[in-house]
């Protein structure tokens, strides 16, 4: 079974530029999460989708971050404009939907962003 796919793996941009990350979850997983992992810290939830609806985006900096999951499968996370403090690994994870949630999240390998 294919795992969670993310791209690009690495991205270097100048501050105030924009960047987009893509995620393809495990087939059949209704719930998709974007986490931000700053070096030396634990993953911090940015946004959670159930199918194509947002469940929780309370910690998403909405003035610069946006995310969508239009068809309930793939998702895109965008940052515009980027700040130095956005340098982090952006992890996408998926899980079974609310009715079948086992507590386990399946993570992709992440997209490492460096903002200069």
């Amino acid at each position: 079974e294919a795992g969670v796919a993310q791209s690009p793996r690495y991205k270097i941009i100048e501050k105030r530029q924009s960047v987009a990350f893509w995620c393809n979850p495990i087939s059949g997983h209704a719930t998709l999460y974007w986490y931000q992992q700053i070096l030396g810290q634990g993953p911090k939830l940015l946004i959670q989708f159930q199918n194509n609806g947002v469940v929780d985006d309370s910690q998403l900096p909405k003035d610069r971050f946006s995310a969508e999951r239009l068809k309930g499968v793939d998702s895109t996370l965008k940052i515009q404009p980027a700040k130095l403090e956005d340098s982090a690994v952006y992890l996408c994870a998926s899980s079974f939907g609310i009715r079948r949630w086992t507590g386990e999240l399946f993570f992709g390998e992440g997209s490492r962003l460096t903002v200069l």
């Binding site: 634990g42 993953p43 939830l45 959670q48 929780d56 507590g103 386990e104 999240l105 993570f107 390998e109």
Partner: protein
């Protein structure tokens, strides 16, 4: 998000020794406590998890000890091996509501050969 506090930040253990990582939580609604293991360049992966109806769960060399009254839980790695060298994250969730995990800050474990 409710906090999950993890310690130590880093840990160095000799091969064959016992590694112990501790976590404490605040939210009494949490009812699922997993540990995730992360190797460099990879995403975290579930290692072992416990529900609060038991005080201990063992899977091979990995054991979770859970103290509900103290709101603490810990991961014990017996007979630690160099291949166990990784970053370990504790996490917590309320299974009945948001279906999301709140992670601790991580412990970088190094097992010396």
């Amino acid at each position: 998000q409710q906090q999950v506090k993890q310690s130590p930040q880093s840990l160095i253990v000799q091969k064959g020794g016992i590694s112990i990582i501790n976590c404490a939580y605040e939210n009494t609604a949490f009812d699922y406590f997993p540990w995730y293991q992360q190797f460099p360049g990879k995403g975290p992966a579930l290692l072992i998890a416990i529900r609060p109806d038991v005080s201990e769960k063992k899977e091979g060399r990995f054991t979770i000890s859970f103290n509900k009254s103290a709101k603490q839980f810990s991961l014990h790695i017996m007979d630690s091996q160099p291949g166990d060298s990784a970053t370990y994250f504790c996490a917590a969730s309320n299974m009945g509501s948001a279906r999301q995990l709140t992670f601790g800050s991580g412990t970088q474990l190094t097992v010396l050969p």
